[in-house]
């Protein structure tokens, strides 16, 4: 169920402001791709274009192509709602729905679009998704309690369970660990390693150790100055980016000379 993503000459705008320019990128199925770069370089903006969440912001738009297994997400007649069911997303701050129980949070996506699910199927899916997110043992006795009673790390894993419950093909993670402590971060990183077996994963991170730990490929974004658009500088195998990058800026960034 994982799919290949191909980005062709993508420009991303907020109204008239060009935030990201000329991205060309191929993301292979069942791999983890990390997007790194200094703040404001457009990596979060870029990742949101991969499931059309970018255009939720008023005035935001995109020029170029994003092909998921050859189908352009920005083609005419493509419904963003359908795109987002295929390409799930986990956000920087854990955001389980506070008005729902843990169980209902997991089922939230499944119950959308007028889909019905029998109670036994729902029970099964809740268990499977929570196990898939390594959360089942911690919450199985309190599935009817509100989701925001959990710790930050548990909440984030609940969000991952909610995302995988709708069986997407790709999972996008926008700095999923930046609000978490090291132990919770480790739990999420282990989980990413497992999810890789089934899903194509793209992760934005500020933490270069994290990028080198979890990802197969790393893409480095940079920005020439404030007000200028962010650009994809270099993309390669993670090991290469961190040991022997071909561009000087990348080497300076990963070795901590700036950023």
């Amino acid at each position: 169920m994982s799919k290949r993503i191909e980005v062709n000459d993508l420009d991303v705008y907020y109204s008239k402001f060009k935030a990201v320019e000329g991205v060309n990128l191929v993301i292979e199925p069942r791999s983890v791709t990390a997007l790194i770069g200094p703040s404001g370089c457009g990596k979060s903006t870029f990742i949101r274009t991969l499931n059309r969440m970018h255009e939720v912001i008023p005035g935001a738009w995109v020029d170029g192509e994003v092909l998921v297994d050859g189908n352009n997400l920005y083609g005419p007649g493509v419904d963003p709602v359908r795109v987002r069911r295929q390409v799930g997303m986990v956000f920087q701050r854990p955001n389980p729905f506070p008005t729902m129980s843990i169980r209902d949070n997991v089922l939230a996506g499944v119950k959308l679009n007028n889909q019905r699910i029998s109670k036994s199927d729902a029970d099964e899916l809740v268990e499977k998704s929570l196990k898939g997110a390594n959360l089942w043992n911690e919450v199985k006795d309190r599935l009817d309690r509100p989701g925001n009673g959990l710790s930050g790390g548990q909440q984030q894993r609940l969000c991952i369970a909610r995302a995988i419950a709708v069986e997407p093909e790709v999972i996008l993670m926008d700095e999923p660990c930046s609000a978490l402590d090291p132990i919770s971060t480790l739990a999420i990183e282990d989980l990413i390693e497992e999810l890789k077996q089934d899903y194509t994963i793209v992760i934005v991170t500020h933490n270069m150790q994290q990028a080198s730990r979890v990802s197969d490929r790393t893409a480095f974004f940079n920005i020439a100055g404030t007000g200028k658009p962010g650009k994809l500088i270099e993309v390669d195998d993670t090991a290469t980016i961190f040991s022997n990058p071909s561009i000087k800026d990348t080497e300076d960034y990963v070795s901590g000379k700036f950023g």
Binding site: N51, M53, V56, P58, V81, R82, R84, R85, G88, M89, F91, R93, N95, P96, F97, P98, T99, M100, S101, A108, G109, L112, N113, R145, P146, N148, G149, C159, R162, A163, V166
Partner: protein, 315 residues
């Protein structure tokens, strides 16, 4: 060695903190004092009215006592307010959602001003409009209701010739409470954290599904609070009802007939100018009951809001 003295550092008292805490305390106690004064007045003046000898009260009809006098009024008050709320609440939620999540920003702003303006219209104006314009205009549709939906007891008729019926009064009340419910709902809908809206959208929710899964549950306590404020206004509304409705002390569910119940507040307004002696105390006693009804309604609303506190999103 002497035992070490336990030093409790005193928090430094800053003048600003003291002024603020004192003024907050005064404001808080002032509300309680005013409420107590009102309740005290109502009880002092009202209770003699409640237990007065029915023979001495001239506003009672023959052989009536206080309970028989006040029960139809309580019914009329609750009935009119409930009808108004039933009509106004869905409309208010719809308008608030349109302003907060559907309308383009400039249109939303304009609409917001217009709704707020509606709240500034004095109730006498609503009363005049209801009695002189709405009643006449809506009367033909009452005839239609009787002919086609007459089998529902609410529209049994016979139709009032003037159109000044319970339904007209309830519509006027609904228009009056619409702005406050809309304004509060709009505020709480706008405060839905984008974090959760994005979570719903990223799961593949349509705009309406996002509203249903996030905005409405999140705004629920606020909407209930707005509805209760509106209900409070509808329960206590005096002029508009007194001008539209020519009611009497009856319990009638028919909404379009010429015999209509009256509300407590309108009854007080209509009878007060000619009341004297113990009659005044009887009217004040009905006011005491209105006070109690409002208190009960608000407590119920509190209870509803608190019941699912864990899931309110406030923690």
């Amino acid at each position: 060695m002497t035992s070490p003295e336990i030093i409790r550092p005193k928090a430094k008292q800053r003048p600003g903190d003291r002024v603020f805490s004192a003024s907050a305390l005064i404001s808080g106690s002032l509300i309680l004092a005013i409420l107590a004064a009102v309740a005290g007045f109502l009880m002092l003046q009202g209770i003699p009215g409640m237990f007065a000898d029915p023979e001495s009260v001239s506003i009672y009809t023959e052989g009536e006592n206080f309970v028989e006098f006040v029960v139809p009024l309580i019914f009329g008050t609750l009935w009119a307010a409930a009808l108004a709320l039933v009509m106004a609440l869905p409309l208010a939620i719809g308008i608030a959602l349109f302003i907060s999540h559907y309308a383009p920003r400039r249109l939303a702003q304009g609409l917001g001003y217009i709704i707020d303006l509606l709240a500034a219209v004095p109730s006498v104006v609503f009363g005049l409009w209801g009695a002189n314009v709405l009643a006449g205009a809506i009367q033909p549709s009452f005839v239609w209701l009787e002919e086609n939906l007459g089998w529902i007891p609410l529209f049994a008729g016979p139709v009032s010739g003037t159109g000044r019926t319970m339904l007209t009064a309830a519509i006027v009340l609904a228009v009056m409470i619409l702005p406050i419910i809309t304004a509060i709902s709009r505020e709480v809908f706008l405060q839905t954290p984008p974090l959760y809206e994005e979570a719903a959208l990223a799961l593949g929710a349509t705009r309406w599904e996002m509203i249903r899964t996030v905005v409405l549950p999140f705004g629920r306590p606020g909407v209930i609070a707005g509805a209760m404020l509106g209900l409070g206004r509808a329960l206590g509304e005096t002029m508009a009802v007194a001008m539209v409705l020519s009611g009497s002390g009856v319990i009638v569910f028919d909404l379009i007939g010429s015999v209509n119940p009256l509300t407590i507040a309108a009854n007080v307004a209509l009878r007060f100018p000619e009341a004297y002696g113990i009659n005044v105390n009887v009217l004040i006693a009905t006011g005491l009951i209105l006070f109690a009804i409002t208190l009960v309604v608000n407590s119920i609303a509190r209870y509803i809001v608190n019941r699912r506190k864990d899931f309110s999103g406030a923690n």
